[in-house]
């Protein structure tokens, strides 16, 4: 099996356990410790922020500065202007493509 296939199976199984534990095990009366809930709901933010960084700057363990940065800045402006998600993504691609075409 390819690495990607292995990740699909194992991450899929682990994720399913996390998804199903509530409906399968916890009923009306059982509650998760509130500490856990607070951590679980806060956790995605730093992870996704890190993903913004790695998908912008990282290529093969080196910090790379390229046209993607322009796209991310454009996306930030679009989000700040409260544009719908579709436009945010399209603007990021468009800005990056233009920069590649005319600047680098």
């Amino acid at each position: 099996m390819s690495d990607a296939g292995l990740v699909v199976v194992l991450l899929g199984a682990g994720t399913y356990v996390l998804k199903a534990l509530g409906p399968m095990y916890f009923g009306n009366r059982r509650e998760l410790p509130s500490k856990f809930k607070k951590i679980a709901l806060l956790l995605p933010t730093p992870l996704i922020a890190a993903l913004v960084i790695t998908s912008t700057f990282s290529s093969d363990n080196v910090i790379t500065l390229d046209a993607r940065i322009i796209g991310v800045i454009a996306a930030g402006i679009a989000l700040w202007k409260k544009l719908p998600f579709v436009f945010v993504v399209v603007i990021a691609a468009f800005a990056t493509a233009l920069f590649r075409l005319f600047v680098v």
Binding site: G5, K19, L32, I70, F85
Partner: protein, 230 residues
């Protein structure tokens, strides 16, 4: 009864719009798979079996950077820990046979929980959860398929059209609203800096996993009940 019908109609509209809203993200995920040399079946496996947007992006990004399988799985699971909290909050509205509960659990994602938990009765919560989950499931897999098959045919299109920049843009979009909250903003900044420092010195995947430690700095367990920090 008429009130209930109107509510159901509005839930269906909400579910379909949320499905359409995630569609570009599905295309971007397909594109990321194509860019990383991941085939159509594996891409669809991610979108149907794992079925958890940010964790799929995280796992594939780690693999694309030549990270290990373990690092990819760990990053994905950390992102999906919240499904456990979602499941507990939706459980009272999803009662039924064992098989039913096992089936609907697969739809336990941000969007289905968001629509479900914002309804007033158990019946409407269940309705919102199912519509939200199914709408996203169908459109997410369809757009993944389009993204991976169209873009794997023409790999240079990914950089020519700037599609590689849609990945960080989509991630930024996912956390943007949360950044209005001071605790979320703090952990985002600390997480981002942690990742930036670690990129050149650790294997791929580790910067993302290590960013989780950012939450220690804001001590989430001290957040009071009722504080709006979601």
């Amino acid at each position: 009864m008429a009130v209930n019908d109107a509510q159901r109609r509005s839930i269906r509209a909400q579910a379909i719009s949320i499905g359409l809203a995630i569609s570009p993200f599905g295309l971007a995920f397909g594109a990321l798979c194509a860019e990383s040399g991941i085939g159509v079946w594996e891409a669809l496996g991610f979108s149907s079996i794992v079925f958890g947007g940010s964790s799929q992006f995280a796992a594939v990004s780690v693999l694309a950077d030549d990270g290990t399988v373990i690092a990819a799985i760990t990053a994905g699971l950390l992102l999906n820990l919240r499904s456990l909290a979602f499941g507990v909050s939706m459980a009272p509205s999803l009662k039924g046979s064992l098989l039913w509960r096992a089936g609907v659990s697969q739809l336990m994602i941000d969007e289905s929980t968001a629509i479900g938990t914002s309804q007033g009765t158990h019946e409407l919560r269940r309705y919102g959860y199912l519509w939200g989950g199914l709408s996203v499931f169908v459109l997410w897999n369809a757009t993944t398929l389009i993204g991976v098959s169209v873009l794997s045919e023409a790999e240079s299109l990914i950089t020519d059209l700037g599609i590689d920049a849609t990945i960080p843009a989509a991630f930024l979009g996912l956390i943007w609203n949360k950044l209005e909250n001071a605790k979320h903003r703090a952990v985002a900044v600390i997480g981002a800096i942690t990742a930036l420092i670690l990129i050149p010195i650790t294997p791929a995947g580790i910067p993302v996993i290590a960013a989780a430690s950012a939450i220690i700095w804001v001590r989430p367990w001290t957040i009071r009940e009722g504080d709006n920090y979601e």
